[in-house]
C-alpha cells in the first residue's frame, strides 16, 4: 500500500510561487517520471514528497497517510540524489547499512541486508572501499544500494544518471528498470531527459513553469500531445511545427503551400492553426511509407543530413520553416538535392495557434 497523492500542492519561496497547486495520483508499484525543462519545479516537487522541502499549501499523502508535517525519516521513503550524496567518511558497507544502523537493527540483520543489496547491484567487491575510491558509475550504484537497503514504500530519484557518460547512462537505465520489476515498489523519478522518461516510465508527468502539462503513458504523450509544448518536448527529434491558416478546408501556409487538414480534426474557416508532424511521418517517397490513404506529397530541398546508421535525418525547408524528415534504408544524399516527400496525414497533429492547445477532434 504505497500510493502517493498530491492534492493542490503549492510551493512558495517568499512571495515567489514555483509550484502551482499540482494534483497527481500515483498508484502502488507505479513508475512515474517527472520530466520538464530546467527550473520547472521537478526537484522541488520531489523534495516536497521527501519532506526535505516544506509545502506551502495542499496535501501530500503517502500510503494513505497525510505526511505534510512528518519529517523525512517518518515517511518511509528512500531517495537517490543527483550527486549521490554518499557519506564520504564511511565505507561502502557502512554507507549501505547506515539507515538500519540508525534504526538500531542487529548487526546480523544489517549484514544480511547489506550483502543482499550488494549482491543485486554487484557491489560485493567494493564493500570495504570509501566512496572517494569509486568511479561515478559505482557511486551511483552504491547510492541505489543505500536506497534499497531501507526497503521503503516509495523510491525517489532526482536525476540519478545525469552525471554519468552516455554509455553508462543507457546501462544504468536498464538496471533501474530491472530493479523496479524485481522490487515492485512505487518510484518517482525526476529527469530532464525525455528519452530516459520514455524508456523508464509507466506514466510520464510533463511539467512546465510549476504546472503539470500532461500526464500519460509514454505512448499516450507521444501520440496525443496535449499542446505544442508537450509535442516538442517529447520525442527526438522534436515535432516539426508549421503555422498556417485554414482556407477552403485546407491549411495554407505563409508561402502559399497547402496541405489537407489531417483526418479527424475540426477546424473553423480562417482559423490560425499550427500543423505538427514528426520526422518519422515525413519521408522521401520510396522510403518505408507505403503509398496509401491520407498521404500528402511535397517537394523539398535538402539542406543538411545527419546519418545515424539505421536512418538518416534530413533537414529541409517546408513553407518557410525548417523541418526534419527521416529516411529509412539510407542512401547518400547531397546538399541541395530536391526530393519528393510523403506526409502521413493521419499521424499529423493540429494545434490552435493562439493557445497552443490541441485542436478538437
Amino acid at each position: 500500500m504505497a500510493q502517493v497523492h498530491l492534492r493542490n500542492v503549492v510551493k512558495k519561496y517568499g512571495p515567489l510561487e514555483v509550484v502551482h497547486a499540482i494534483n497527481l495520483d500515483i498508484a502502488d508499484g507505479e513508475f512515474v517520471v517527472l520530466v520538464g525543462p530546467s527550473g520547472c519545479g521537478k526537484s522541488t516537487t520531489l523534495r516536497m514528497v521527501a519532506g526535505l522541502e516544506a509545502i506551502s499549501g495542499g496535501d501530500v499523502q503517502i500510503g494513505g497517510r497525510v505526511v505534510n508535517d512528518l519529517p523525512p525519516r517518518d515517511r518511509n521513503i528512500s531517495m537517490v540524489f543527483q550527486n549521490y550524496a554518499l557519506y564520504p567518511h564511511m565505507t561502502v558497507r557502512e554507507n549501505l547499512g547506515f539507515s538500519l544502523h540508525i534504526a538500531k537493527h542487529s548487526q546480523a540483520d544489517i549484514d544480511k541486508a547489506v550483502n543482499e543489496a550488494a549482491d543485486i547491484l554487484s557491489l560485493t567487491p567494493l564493500l570495504d572501499r570509501k566512496p572517494g575510491a569509486l568511479s561515478g558509475g559505482q557511486r551511483q550504484r552504491v547510492a541505489m544500494g543505500r536506497a534499497i537497503v531501507r526497503d521503503p514504500e516509495v523510491f525517489l530519484f532526482d536525476e540519478p544518471l545525469s552525471n554519468l557518460d552516455a554509455k553508462l547512462r543507457t546501462q544504468m537505465r536498464v538496471e533501474i528498470k530491472k530493479l523496479h520489476q524485481k522490487l515492485g515498489s512505487t518510484i518517482i523519478y525526476v529527469t530532464h531527459d525525455q528519452i530516459e522518461a520514455m524508456t523508464l516510465a509507466d506514466r510520464i508527468v510533463i511539467m512546465r513553469d510549476g504546472h503539470i502539462e500532461q500526464v500519460g503513458t509514454p505512448l499516450e504523450v507521444f501520440e496525443n500531445p496535449i499542446n505544442t509544448f508537450v509535442a516538442t518536448f517529447i520525442g527526438s527529434p522534436p515535432m516539426n511545427l508549421l503555422d498556417g491558416v485554414v482556407k477552403d478546408g485546407q491549411i495554407e501556409f505563409a508561402d502559399g503551400t497547402r496541405l489537407p487538414v489531417p483526418p479527424g480534426y475540426f477546424t473553423d474557416e480562417g482559423q490560425a492553426i499550427t500543423f505538427g508532424v514528426r520526422a518519422d511521418n515525413i519521408m522521401p517517397v520510396g522510403h518505408a511509407l507505403p503509398r496509401g490513404e491520407h498521404m500528402a506529397e511535397v517537394e523539398m530541398t535538402v539542406d543538411l543530413t545527419e546519418p545515424l546508421g539505421t536512418e538518416t535525418l534530413l533537414f529541409a525547408v517546408l513553407a518557410g520553416t525548417e523541418v526534419q524528415a527521416k529516411m529509412l534504408n539510407p542512401r547518400p544524399v547531397h546538399r541541395g538535392e530536391r526530393m519528393t516527400f510523403q506526409i502521413m496525414l493521419d499521424k499529423c497533429h493540429l494545434f490552435d495557434a493562439e493557445t497552443g492547445d490541441t485542436q478538437k477532434k
Partner: protein, 288 residues
Amino acid sequence: MATNSNHNLRRQMLKVAHSLGLFFAMMVLCVPGLWIVLNSFRPTVEIMAKPPVWIPNELNFDHYRAMFGGIGEGGVPVLTYFANSLVISVTSTVIAILIGMAGGYAFARYKFKFKGGIFVGLMVTRAVPGVALSLPLFILFARVGIIDTHFGMIIAYVALNVPFTIWLIDGFFRQVPPELAEAAEIDGCTRWQAFWRVEFPVARSGIASAGIFAFLTSWNEYALASQLTRSTTSKTMPVGLLDFTSEFTLNWGGMCALAVLMIIPALILTFLVQKHLIAGLTFGGVKG
C-alpha cells in the same frame, strides 16, 4: 638530441634552485627557534658574546635547573604558569570551537536577516589590535572583579577567537554538500543526528585545524595577558617570561629555557593533529 639534454640540464638546475630556495626559506623560519633552543642550553657568557658564538663550547642544563629552583635563585613558578596557560588555552579553545561550530554552521546553512552585516561585523572585530583593547578590558574587568582570574582570561580569549573560528568553520561546512545531511535525514536521522553523524565527521579535519589555530593564539598571546593577569593565580607562560627581566639585567638563558617549554606542547599538539591540519587546509575531497 642536443635540445633533449639541454632540457634535462635545465630541469636539474631548476631542481637545485628549488631546493636552495626552500633551504633559505626554512633557515629564515627556523634559525630564531633553533637559536632559542641553543641559548637555553649554554652559559650566559656565551649568549652575550660578541661576535656571536655559533658553535657552542659547552652545553648544560643550568638555566633549566635554575628556573625550576627556588625563588630568589633565579627560579620562577613554571609549573603554575604552565597549568594556567593550559587551563586557559584549552578551555577557551573548546568554547571557541563549540561557538564556532554553531555559528559557522548557521552561516553556512541558514538564511537569516542581516547575515552579511553580522558576518562583516565579526570580521571587523578582528581588525582591532589586542593591545588597543587591553586598557578598556582592564578597566572593565577591574570593575567586574575578574582581573587576574582564569575566568577573565578565558572570556577574553573566547572573544578573540570566536570570529576566526566561525569564519573558518563556516568555510568548511560550506564545502559539505547539503545533500549529505538530507540523505541522512531520509535514512532515519533527526536533524541533530544528521549533523553529528554525517556533517560533523566530514568537516572534522577543518574543525580540528580551526581548533589548533585558536589554541595557538591563546597559548602565545601576550598583549592582553600582560595587562589582565597580575599574579601566579592567572599568569600565563608568555607573561611569565617577563619574570626573567629585572631593572638592570635580562636573564636571557632563563627566558629561552621557558620559551622552549612553551614551544614543546604546541609542537606536540601540531604534530599529533598534523594529518587533520593538512587535510583541513586542503579540504575539498568530500565530493561523492
